[in-house]
């Protein structure tokens, strides 16, 4: 299926000079950091307002990036179609983000600046993100807050009427704007309201309960998609001048994650199979503060916001004996004396303490549990304790700050966190890797743009808290609405390819039908969920918080065997031409199985530890991640050549402003 017309790996291999690469392939503008984005915006070609409605743009996904992008392009007058698999665009999983959104407003007078946000994000990403992209992100962060406030997003405020902030991991300033414990909800509903306005005005057509099954390439450019109507089962192709994918991350490859049940890699993986580069798939974020796994019936893991670490203290007992007694229910954690508690984050990282970044906090939790000092019945859990904060501030203050999170915790676990310490453990949460994009957020396939978590662009090897919302909205409100019209202007007014003139559309539809037919005709004995569950166990064990050469190699073999079983033994009841939840899951799991091999291969090839990617072979004596900058200060980008035949090429990272340092939070 890979398209020889858009093969990029040969071209990339010949671009040996990093500066040249940045300029001609990554398309990063010349000049000082602070001027790059302004310069690029001026270079962009524009489309005359009267002509905009003649261009059709497909946006897949209605989260922060997709919703904001569709709304903004629609408002500019482009003819937009937006697709989502949920029953309404308001459900997209951006809605579940709890803690907040970063911006360099410096309303707290604490020394923040665009440059500091840029620097913190680059450092937080373990020096594996592009300078130009991250600076732009920091630069537009302030406009995002302005935009959201103007839309009526009810951010928290001080008594004087100005906006309030809180602190988040990996920063020593308070730059996180928040709406109680549901900032993602409020920002998404803001984008949804802007999108709804355009739907009402007719510039955006919304297609709910439509799942993208494939991408359509015409003459080497992305010119449409194929969808399955999830109610009727209808397979249909759609033509357009360009396609924007804002389809989220692939965290559900772990089966258990904080993602929504429907989140999947299908759209991104289909694009990859058509020749779009996939960058850094091994950069996955394991969030340190989730409610621990309780048993085999569990379908999802619930996040407890990072903001809780502002007031909660993370600890395990100092001795294995006490930990064992707690696990067995013989010892109440409240009875563990102060001197018997190991507040390991405060001990190891005194200057950042409980607000150490996510990758570091997660590994520290794993370390404590590997040392048999974990709590929870499974031994995979640590305490997040509010006792001291409640004694210092009173229960009411804590309730005001985190009430909804505490209620959620009690609902799920049946334990009152005001009286007992929370138990938490790391879980798959976010994926920094994604489809490769240039500075204009265009993939290696011309006409295919990628925004939000689906692209790889801004977080390097580890994302800081409250930066996902920032990036989604930056892409959606500010970057894509500038860069997409530039591409459209270059296409000219010839219009989207007509379906009747181009056999590619019918062929793509036929391929999707054939694939569905193939799935339906297996008639095996195992449910798609059961196979997904097994896949998740392999990935969590061997490509989770700590990875080894040996483990990854065996994971690849196990995944191949599981995939073979899937295609021989998957059982899908019901029919293809009606609402069929088993078929939906099976189609997604089929792509996860192929993608999982890519994930493990990337983790295998990146022979260093950085950010969320921890290779046990590469660590300091203290167990910290050991980067190998000489060999791996680059983006690893994969090209699809055939089944399991992926070629890895590099985008060198050019740092003109930041000095590569060892990341320290001590």
């Amino acid at each position: 299926m890979s398209n020889p017309e858009i093969s990029f790996s040969e071209k990339w291999k010949s671009a040996t000079d990093p500066n040249d690469f940045a300029k001609t392939i990554s398309l990063i503008p010349d000049g000082p950091l602070a001027e790059k984005w302004s310069k690029r915006k001026f270079e962009y070609k524009l489309v005359n307002p009267a002509n905009r409605r003649k261009f059709h743009v497909i946006v897949v996904g209605s989260g922060l990036a997709g919703g904001a992008c569709a709304a903004s392009l629609g408002e500019m007058g482009f003819n937009v179609s937006c697709f989502c698999y949920q029953d309404s665009p308001r459900r997209a999983h951006s809605i579940a983000a709890q803690g907040g959104i970063n911006a360099a407003k410096c309303y707290q007078n604490d020394g923040d600046s665009v440059y500091r946000l840029f620097y913190d994000t680059i450092k937080g990403g373990d020096f594996r993100a592009r300078e130009g992209n991250v600076y732009r992100l920091a630069e537009v962060s302030n406009s995002i807050i302005d935009q959201c406030v103007a839309q009526g997003v009810p951010f928290a405020r001080e008594y004087g009427g100005t906006l309030a902030n809180r602190s988040f991991g990996g920063a020593q300033v308070s730059r996180t704007f928040y709406a109680r414990g549901q900032t993602g909800q409020q920002l998404l509903l803001g984008a949804y309201s802007a999108l709804s306005k355009q739907i009402g005005l007719g510039t955006v057509k919304m297609y709910n309960r439509h799942e993208m099954m494939d991408l359509v390439i015409v003459n080497g450019e992305a010119k449409g998609i194929v969808t399955r109507n999830m109610i009727t089962g209808e397979i249909k192709s759609w033509n357009a001048d360009c396609v924007v994918l804002c389809t989220g991350g692939y965290g559900n490859v772990f089966y258990l994650s904080t993602n929504a049940q429907g989140c999947n890699v299908t759209a991104a993986f289909r694009a990859f199979k058509h020749g779009a580069g996939f960058a850094n798939p091994c950069y996955t974020q394991i969030h340190p503060t989730c409610i621990p796994v309780h048993g085999d019936q569990q379908s999802k893991l619930t996040l407890m916001s990072e903001s809780l670490r502002n007031d909660g203290r993370v600890w395990v007992p100092k001795t294995r004996e006490q930990a064992k007694a707690i696990r067995e229910g013989k010892l109440n954690p409240n009875d563990v004396a102060e001197e018997d508690r190991d507040y390991y984050l405060e001990r190891k990282y005194p200057s950042f303490g409980n607000l150490a970044p996510r990758d570091i906090s997660s590994r520290a939790a794993k370390e404590a549990c590997d040392d048999e000092r974990g709590v929870a019945s499974t031994g995979r859990g640590v305490f997040l304790d509010f006792r001291d904060a409640i004694n210092r501030l009173g229960e009411d203050v804590i309730r005001d700050r985190y009430g909804n999170l505490f209620d959620m915790y009690e609902n799920i676990t049946g334990v009152n966190p005001y009286k007992n310490p929370m138990q938490i453990y790391p879980a798959s949460h976010y994926t920094m890797g994604g489809l490769w994009v240039d500075y204009n957020l265009m993939s290696t396939i011309p006409g295919l743009f990628v925004g939000g978590e689906a692209n790889f662009s801004d977080h390097g090897a580890n994302r800081l808290g409250a930066s996902a919302l920032m990036q989604g909205l930056s892409d959606g409100y500010f970057v894509l609405p500038a860069s997409v019209p530039n591409y459209l202007a270059k296409c000219g007014l010839k219009g989207a390819p007509k379906k009747e003139d181009h056999p590619e559309y019918a062929a793509a539809e036929a391929a999707v039908r054939e694939r569905i037919e193939k799935l339906m005709s297996v008639h095996g004995n195992k449910s798609p969920r059961a196979i997904h569950h097994e896949l998740g166990k392999i990935i969590w064990e061997k490509c989770g918080m700590a990875r080894t050469e040996e483990g990854l190699k065996s994971a690849i073999e196990e995944i191949k065997a599981l995939r073979e079983e899937f295609w021989k033994n998957v059982k899908i009841v019901g029919t293809a031409d009606s609402l069929n939840i088993e078929l939906e899951r099976a189609a997604r799991v089929a792509d996860f199985l192929d993608f999982a091999i890519l994930l493990c291969k990337d983790a295998l090839e990146r022979r260093e530890s950085c950010g969320g990617h921890f290779r046990a072979e590469f660590q300091t004596e203290e167990g910290e991640a050991l980067r190998v900058d000489e060999k791996f200060h680059h983006v690893g980008v994969w090209e699809y050549k055939g089944d399991d035949d992926f070629v890895r090429v590099q985008e060198p990272l050019v740092y003109e402003n930041v000095h590569l340092a060892t990341r320290s939070y001590k």
Partner: protein, 263 residues
């Protein structure tokens, strides 16, 4: 974690193959359900059993499973989202049920929310109401600095209270009139309370109420069932606020100067 046990349950579940098919209740047994599982995980177990027997699993809407997306929607023993106040179906855990209990599960019942299949209903009528006026018209990139307009904490908090609505539709399902007033008034209260929403205040409330009526939702008769079942604690105060805004907007419209007369 609190201590876990397992439960055996009898489920009476509404099955309906498609929108225009006749539905009926089907009885199922499910056992070995951990008290630590969520209600939807219990249905996952049942569905896996059904699939193993070659039967079609029960179709239900769900996505985030953390109580915020608003997608899950089922009436459990006659109560939308089940027996616990302030909790969505996905956050309802099985420790709230007894071993041996019979549980009845139905879709939202309301004319503007037609059944698509089994427990899945069509809630696009809610989207249409938001499209009519549930927004502040502000062009991307045209906003003023976020701190230029100070907003009293109390005002921001009230707007935030109202904004917590997740659009699940439990309010409609609980109401004998299938009224959407709690949903609509939540959005109206959020935006009409904030200074940013003032310029469009009147046209917003008029347009949203009209869209609500056009979609076939009934009127409010102050029974408060909606408030009782709302998983996010939205209250009738918002409906009172919307009625006030609606009355003022209607009167203003009635007495509005026609401006210059044109021939």
């Amino acid at each position: 974690m609190s201590e876990e046990k397992t439960l055996s349950l009898t489920l009476k579940v509404w099955r309906q193959s498609k929108a225009d098919a006749k539905g009926h209740f089907e009885t199922y047994k499910v056992s070995n359900v951990s008290t630590g599982s969520s209600f939807l995980e219990m249905l996952d177990i049942l569905n896996e059993d059904l699939v193993a027997q070659g039967k079609e699993p029960i179709a239900f809407d769900h996505d985030c499973r953390e109580g915020i997306c608003g997608m899950c929607s089922m009436t459990i023993n006659g109560m939308p989202h089940g027996p616990l106040p302030g909790v969505t179906t996905c956050q309802l855990h099985m420790r709230n049920f007894r071993d041996g209990e019979t549980i009845t599960i139905e879709p939202w019942r309301a004319k503007p929310f037609p059944v698509i299949k089994d427990l899945i209903v069509d809630r696009t009528a809610f989207d249409k109401i938001i499209q009519a006026g549930g927004f502040v018209s502000v062009r991307t990139g045209s906003a003023i600095d976020a701190n230029i307009i100070p907003i009293a904490k109390e005002t921001a908090d009230l707007a935030m209270d109202a904004a917590e609505c997740i659009g699940c539709g439990a309010c409609v399902a609980a109401c004998k009139n299938a009224s959407a007033m709690l949903f609509v008034s939540s959005k109206v209260t959020q935006l009409n309370t904030l200074p940013q929403g003032q310029p469009e205040k009147d046209r917003r409330v008029l347009a949203m109420v009209k869209a609500m009526d056009d979609a076939g939702f009934g009127n409010c008769s102050n029974l408060g069932e909606c408030q009782a079942v709302c998983p996010k604690g939205q209250t009738l105060d918002f409906i009172a606020k919307m009625n006030r805004d609606y009355a003022v907007a209607s009167i203003k419209k009635l007495f509005k100067s026609r401006g210059k007369s044109r021939k």
